[in-house]
């Protein structure tokens, strides 16, 4: 069990690419921290630096009380699960799981006990004598996790471990990983590009872009109070709707083509500015009558998903999506009035894209 502390971490490759820029993270003991972001955002590089597989250009990484910058991976007391599982193809499942223990000179009985224990937790006991190529994707995934947990490391590192699985299995493994973390209570750092995975697994989530941390927070905090436009658009599916608006002189109204919405109190100081308005699809609700903060539009595409209905339409000059209750009866090309709660509107600076 250990905290992980990352300070002013930078990674610059020989070709000049600056992959990780001034990353600061404090990962608490027993926490499940998820790094999420689009590809090339530096999340995997950060994880690999924690693992010791990538050299650090500048900055400091501590695991527990020790600075591990110059320690080889084997001396960091970590375990890592790779995207392609990286099972040793010439070894049986048992030997795959036992390898790390053998390398560390554990006694035979102890190895046997630990491997059996891990296999039991993951339900892979019948597979111990098989070779990796005789396993299905989900089974390989379990073996890869098993190999990580036998050593009882201080920190688990996961590098997109579910992205090679099919959608159904991914959902199932996601739950299992969460359950496993609750049982083992080990600090975990998990990298993914899937925001749903990030939200469901993470105690806290770190959103990264272009090598920089955009926001760190609990899942609902990121969803409800995104720090900038990037986080707002990245977290949530369907994504948040964005409209360029101009704020009236007194700061009371946000206006765009065909839109006039009343604004929350905090916008009074921003009168006359051009801002980006963000609206979550579920913040758009069908209104009965005309109100201060409503607008009418024609829905062009309806996506009935069963548990909800997505309505696609144009407003303020851009395409938008609303998520409404499945009980609502709407026909395509019908004119509908949507109402908005001013308190559920997000505003972002048009230049810096920071939240207001």
């Amino acid at each position: 069990m250990a905290d992980v502390s990352i300070r002013q971490l930078n990674k610059k490759y020989d070709n000049g690419f600056h992959a990780v820029k001034d990353v600061n993270l404090e990962i608490r003991d027993k926490e499940f921290l998820v790094l999420v972001g689009p590809s090339g955002c530096g999340k995997t590089t950060t994880l690999r630096m924690v693992a010791g597989l990538e050299e650090i250009t500048s900055g400091e990484i501590r695991i527990g009380p020790d600075v591990v910058n110059d320690l080889p991976p084997m001396d960091r007391n970590i375990a890592m699960v790779f995207q392609n599982y990286a099972l040793y193809p010439h070894k049986t499942v048992f030997d795959n799981m036992a390898f790390g223990l053998q390398m560390r000179g554990y006694a035979k009985d102890d190895i046997l006990k630990r491997v059996r224990e891990a296999a039991e937790i993951l339900g892979i006991e019948p597979l111990l004598e098989r070779k990796p190529r005789q396993l299905s994707g989900g089974q390989r995934q379990r073996v890869a996790v098993g190999r990580a947990i036998v050593r009882h490391p201080e920190v688990f590192l996961f590098d997109e471990p579910l992205s090679n699985l099919d959608a159904k299995l991914r959902v199932q493994m996601r739950v299992e990983l969460k359950r496993l973390h609750e049982r083992l209570e080990t600090t975990a750092i998990y990298v993914t590009h899937d925001q749903v995975e990030a939200m469901t697994l993470g105690t806290r989530v770190v959103v990264m872009k272009d090598g920089r941390v955009q926001q760190v927070g609990e899942p609902l905090e990121l969803y409800g109070r995104p720090a900038n436009k990037f986080v707002a658009g990245f977290i949530g599916s369907p994504a948040m709707n964005f409209v360029e608006v101009s704020i009236s002189g007194d700061g009371r109204w946000a206006e765009a083509e065909g839109l006039r919405l009343s604004t929350p109190e905090r916008l009074r100081a921003h009168g006359g500015q051009r801002l980006t308005l963000g609206v979550r699809p579920e913040a758009l609700q069908i209104a009965n009558g005309a109100g201060d903060s409503s607008f009418a539009t024609a829905v062009d595409v309806i996506e009935p998903l069963g548990n909800e209905i997505l309505l696609n339409f144009r407003a303020g000059g851009v395409a938008m999506v609303a998520r409404v209750d499945p009980g609502v009866r709407v026909k395509a090309h019908e004119n509908i009035r949507f109402a908005l709660d001013p308190e559920r509107l997000h505003f972002f600076d048009a230049k810096t894209e920071d939240a207001i």
């Binding site: 693992a51 010791g52 597989l53 080889p72 991976p73 084997m74 960091r76 970590i78 375990a79 890592m80 790779f82 995207q83 392609n84 599982y85 990286a86 099972l87 040793y88 193809p89 010439h90 390898f99 790390g100 390398m103 560390r104 070779k131 990796p132 190529r133 390989r140 890869a144 190999r147 050593r151 090679n164």
Partner: protein
């Protein structure tokens, strides 16, 4: 529809396949037939009545016996085997380490080094044997098996290095990284994980290296003078062609017996090689 398909399969598959097989195997067949054909048939013209150019009616072992009794063939076979095995082992070991380093380690000039090694492979042996002969003489290795055991790797190491470099590149680097997290050093990960996984590649490099050294002619001809030090290809050619007389029967018997060990090596390892390849490395 079905009939048409059958017809097409014959024209596009069986027929070209048959032509190919005949074309490839005929020299071997000819060698075998000649080895067992009595001299009376061998030196008779095809125009005479009852001539059977494509097979023999009176197979004989006289050429095989003659080869084993009148020449040093068993010694040549032993020499060839010893030299081929030692040269292959030396080349494989060097090739494995060099191939690993060039495919995995990032160091200044690694790409240049890889290309340079390949270029040395392109220098023809017919030029290289002259300076090598000088070196062999200076080291007093001439006419000893070491002359060939040490010069064959000059061709084989670049070859093995390149072949293995390509193979190592197909092995996901995560395997090695995982081993290093599991507690292995870089060297340990290479020896315990990468080499065992690369066995199909190492075997194929070994088979090729073995065959190349088994069949090598120029160096063996130049560096080995006395009859008891010769290898099969050189021995057979130099001892069984006397002046303008070709002892065809014994020549072919020598060629036949000389190719048996290679055939055995192939048949034994090809099985392993194929199973090795079908077991995928990927997760």
């Amino acid at each position: 529809m079905l009939i048409e398909r059958k017809w097409k399969k014959w024209v596009y598959f069986y027929l070209p396949m048959a032509v190919f097989i005949v074309f490839t195997l005929f020299p071997f067949y000819w060698m075998a037939v000649t080895a067992f054909r009595p001299d009376t048939e061998l030196y008779a013209t095809w125009r005479q009545p009852n001539a059977q150019p494509l097979w023999t009616l009176a197979p004989t072992l006289e050429h095989v016996k003659g080869l084993l009794q009148t020449t040093a063939f068993p010694t040549w076979l032993w020499n060839t085997m010893l030299i081929a095995i030692v040269a292959t082992i030396i080349s494989l070991i060097c090739g494995m380490f060099a191939g690993y380093a060039l495919s995995r380690l990032r160091f200044r000039g690694s790409e240049f080094l890889g290309t340079a090694i390949f270029i040395t492979y392109l220098v023809p042996q017919t030029l290289l044997f002259i300076p090598l002969a000088d070196i062999i003489r200076d080291l007093h290795l001439g006419n000893t098996p070491w002359a060939l055991m040490l010069t064959y790797p000059t061709i084989l190491i670049p070859f093995c290095t390149w072949l293995l470099m390509g193979y190592f590149k197909t092995i996901p680097k995560e395997l090695e990284e995982c081993a290093r997290i599991d507690g292995a050093t870089r060297f340990g990960a290479m020896v315990r994980i990468i080499f065992p996984v690369a066995i199909p590649g190492i075997l194929s490099a070994g088979i090729f290296a073995f065959t190349l050294s088994w069949n090598e002619f120029i160096y063996a001809l130049v560096f080995m003078a006395s009859a008891d030090q010769k290898t099969v290809p050189v021995g057979v050619v130099s001892e069984l062609i006397r002046g303008d007389i070709f002892f065809w029967g014994q020549l072919m018997a020598g060629a036949l017996l000389g190719s048996v060990p290679v055939a055995i090596v192939y048949s034994f390892f090809v099985e392993y090689y194929v199973t090795g390849l079908t077991g995928s490395v990927k997760g």
